[in-house]
């Protein structure tokens, strides 16, 4: 009986807190006329300071903050490794196994440790940068087109690098003209097009999410954006997974020998 009462009290408190926040927000807007910043200002990166001719935008500063968080977290995690894994170590080992599974499925089992660092970097970097926008005051580095384009260019360069490293220069170049030499321009065009498709997929998803949250924030602060922000956790992690998967498929296409029957 007591437990049920406690639960009910906490529910009533929670609901009344939400209602009070909504009322306060509406009242504030009515009396003071607080106009939220426009959507375009919220999305576009601002120049924070300049070093000579280089403009350092808020995207870069957010990336630095994220890198610092990841580095400190990795340092403290690496110091306290046990044979019997604890909470965080368990999660990290699960992530390791998942990335290893993707690599064995799409690239091949034999040299999975060669591709592991770059693929794991993609997944961790993109997942953290998508989730960084949930922290108030910071914004995801991926809503700027330059960050996804940079990551996609790394994929674009690493595909021939791994292809030449594992199969040799001549064999790698041969696979462009493998069935017939007419395929050469199509292969080159697809290599360039998929770089843009990779970057635009990541950018468009996170950007669209962020714009929807900003528009809902214009309508009513505090309440309406919350379900969309919860949904953005799901889409952010999903986009990181899809980027990792696609980069594995592209690298695997260059590394795997063509099945010559």
């Amino acid at each position: 009986m007591k437990k049920i009462n406690k639960k009910n009290i906490s529910k009533i408190l929670f609901l009344s807190l939400i209602l009070a926040m909504a009322l306060i927000s509406f009242q504030l807007r009515k009396t003071q006329g607080i106009e939220p910043v426009s959507v375009a200002d919220e999305i576009s990166p601002q120049v924070i300071f300049t070093i000579g001719p280089i403009q350092v935008t808020s995207t870069v500063v957010n990336t630095w903050i994220m890198m610092a968080l990841l580095t400190i977290g990795a340092y403290f995690l690496g110091r306290s490794l046990n044979i019997r894994p604890r909470m965080f170590q368990n999660a990290i080992e699960w992530l390791f196994e998942a990335i290893r599974g993707i690599i064995t499925l799409y690239i091949g089992e034999t040299k999975s440790s060669l591709f592991f660092p770059i693929v794991a970097t993609f997944s961790i970097f993109i997942a953290t940068s998508n989730l960084l926008g949930l922290i108030p005051g910071l914004s995801s580095p991926t809503i700027d087109i330059n960050t996804p384009l940079a990551i996609a260019l790394i994929v674009f360069i690493s595909v021939p690098y791994f292809g030449i490293k594992t199969r040799g220069l001549w064999k790698y170049l041969k696979h462009y003209v493998q069935p017939i030499f007419i395929m050469l321009p199509i292969e080159i065009a697809s290599e360039i097009a998929r770089t843009f498709s990779l970057s635009f997929r990541l950018f468009g998803n996170i950007m669209g999410e962020e714009i929807i949250i900003a528009i809902l924030f214009l309508i009513s602060p505090f309440i309406l954006p919350v379900p969309m922000m919860l949904f953005s956790i799901f889409t952010g992690v999903l986009q990181a997974y899809i980027f990792t998967l696609l980069s594995c498929v592209y690298i695997g296409g260059a590394v795997k020998a063509h099945t010559t029957s």
């Binding site: 959507v39 375009a40 499925l105 498709s197 635009f200 997929r201 950018f203 468009g204 998803n205 950007m207 669209g208 714009i211 997974y241 899809i242 998967l245 696609l246 498929v249």
Partner: protein, 94 residues
Amino acid sequence: MDLSTLPWDKIFVIVTILVAGPGIVIGITFPAIGQAIVALSGLKAISRQPEAGDKINSIVLLSLAMLESLAIYVLAVVLILVFANPMRTFILGN
């Protein structure tokens, strides 16, 4: 009729909205149908042969991502039209 007296900036904004709204509707509809077909056939394949579930699952996710990028292209074009139209200075001057 003098064309220069028309309120070109208002016409520009109205035309942009009239293009962007239906544009995103059309551009989302057809990739959605394609994604539905992919998900449906993936589900059918898994129910017919559950032991191949993992492989089918990853292929379905891959093709869903490929189809989603079409919708994302439409979104990017519409966002550019609304927020950062490169033709704005060409049409409106200044």
